[in-house]
Symmetry: none
Subunit: 207 residues, 4 copies
């Protein structure tokens, strides 16, 4: 998470409980207060921890919230439903379920907004959250190719472009539906979207 291996050999070791208590308190505070209402002093109080302890581990609000929210996305997985359409639909619904939680909703866009002027934060978001989901696309695509639903792509660079595009379309559409249009991502919408994407992918493949 932060310091990993570099030598802190002597002295009292950091409390492992504190870490988890702080992250849990952060999520709770996000639910209660939203991003802009969240204060580190309040998080520390909720966690039963001194502010010093918190600052010893995280540089600030942004970093703390990224870590607190990242865990939510670990529950995403891609069970094999037997067809590309079913796979797309299930991942869309799972993703939307996470986004419907208030702590994710308020925090995710906010840290992305902060990251527009902060490259280090952008990297942290990418490594902690975004990249951990991207393998779902890779995996789903590989399965579809194995089933013969999608043509095999031999050029790795072209394959990467395709993966990125699909990821932007899925994640972007779901986020926009949830947070901007603020309409529900139910099975109707997921079905419409899946049909659109599937047609797009099985038509002429990207050049």
């Amino acid at each position: 998470m932060q310091s990993r291996s570099s030598a802190p050999r002597t002295g009292r070791p950091r409390s492992a409980e504190a870490d988890e208590a702080i992250l849990a308190a952060t999520r709770a505070a996000l639910v209660d207060l939203g991003w802009s209402g969240l204060t580190l002093g309040d998080v520390a109080t909720r966690a039963g921890v001194a502010k010093t302890t918190l600052y010893r581990r995280w540089a600030g609000k942004n970093e703390l919230v990224v870590d607190a929210v990242a865990a939510l996305f670990d529950e995403l997985e891609l069970p094999d439903r037997g067809s590309l359409a079913a796979d797309i639909e299930i991942v869309v619904l799972q993703f939307a379920a996470i986004l419907s939680r208030p702590e994710a909703k308020t925090a995710l866009m906010a840290v992305v907004a902060e990251s527009t002027g902060d490259a280090a934060l952008r990297d942290r978001i990418r490594s902690s959250i975004v990249d951990r989901q991207k393998h779902l696309v890779t995996q789903g695509r590989a399965r579809a190719q194995a089933r013969g639903e999608l043509p095999v792509e031999n050029d790795p660079e072209t394959a990467a472009r395709g993966t990125d595009l699909i990821f932007d379309v899925i994640a972007g559409a779901v986020v926009h539906r949830c947070l901007v249009s603020s309409k529900p991502v139910d099975t109707d919408w997921a079905g419409d979207f899946t049909r659109l994407l599937l047609n797009g992918l099985t038509g002429v493949s990207p050049a």
Copy 2:
């Protein structure tokens, strides 16, 4: 923008210059300082205006920034390029051009994040920004139907669902590409995306 017609007949009228100066100052401050660094006191100073004048017109940072950024989106338009593919591509590139401005980049996600816990702000964003772009989709779709590129949809409710879906896909994908993946929306990417979307639309239409 705010008070519209209701009767403030007496007293000194509000300065129209001040309004524009404040919005311009807000955009400038966003460029210099980003969302989280932006201060209403600083905006007031830049605009050559007292803080009270600012608070008399806007309830807070969120509302002010929505109005300041909304103007940027008014330059979006849809010239008729003769084909649906060309129309999609041009609107994607225009939208990305706006999002690449630092004032839009930092502000847009931030106010959306704030809006997750504030219905009034959500409405303000929708009416000031989102809905003003949605007509581009409607218009492009009508042209494509006139050209015979897309089937005519008779049920108005189904048509609305389709418009919403297309809008979420386009806007979501472009925003995600720009702000989360933070990769450029160049003609290559726009081409790939357009191909994907076009295939999706001209295949089986949404139920």
Copy 3:
């Protein structure tokens, strides 16, 4: 009060009612809010008058309050009780009665405090409030001399010194008793004080 004789020949004449309404509102506000809580905006509202009207007549809070309070002191008078002792006692009690009013209590010391750095205000206080009381001393002294209770003072400069001293002692002691010691000026205290002063005056006269 302010403009006196200089020619306001043309245009709408100033409302005479407004003047008295403002002074009354000022006194009422002093009772409710005290000196530091009093604001000119509030006075204007209470008087049913625009702030402009108020500023057209008085330069600020200090000047307004001096005028508002000065009227209270006009009720002081010196009925002839037949002896110097009785005369002193009655004036002490009258003065204390005025000082026990909340509007006088809070305002008087405050404007004196302000006047320490403002010569114009000091003059205004002297001419509006202080000098109007000083004749009571002169008058009482003259009566006492006529009765033979006090020796006649021939040198006018020495007489003035004596008057000033007596005035400072009476006014100072009463004010200090009321506002600093915050104990009542009842007939007991007035009697003690009168005895002390009378002994002081009828002993060896000031050099």
Copy 4:
């Protein structure tokens, strides 16, 4: 000054330097700006201290100024000059010397004015400033009785009434001369006043 003994065992202790720096800055600001021009923000800046530090120790302008000015009165003392007349004269001159300082002049009346509507402030003034001077009267009186200049007073309640009266007369007269009449307390005036008071005291004693 404020918290005295109650147990704040943990946490960083309050800076003792800050206390003195703030009081000194307050006195300096009073000299430069006067009571009404004095700003807590300005005091904090002058003291090199944050506004919060100031508000942590004092509730507001009034309390701060009382403490800042109280120290000035600690220099009052009563050297034995061998006669009651000399003792009165010296204390009058000392008191006037303090009142002639701009920081005392502007502040003293102002806090008394504020205290008319604030019992807590009145107590603070009494305990911090007034009562610390009253022992001068007691002491001077005792010496005069020892010398045989004044009759011994056996009833302690009558003695207290006398002390209060003398104190109100001395303090009141000097303050009134300085601040209201705004004439100098020189040896001439001090002589006249001492003669008056001495005659008053050595004549018939208060009932």
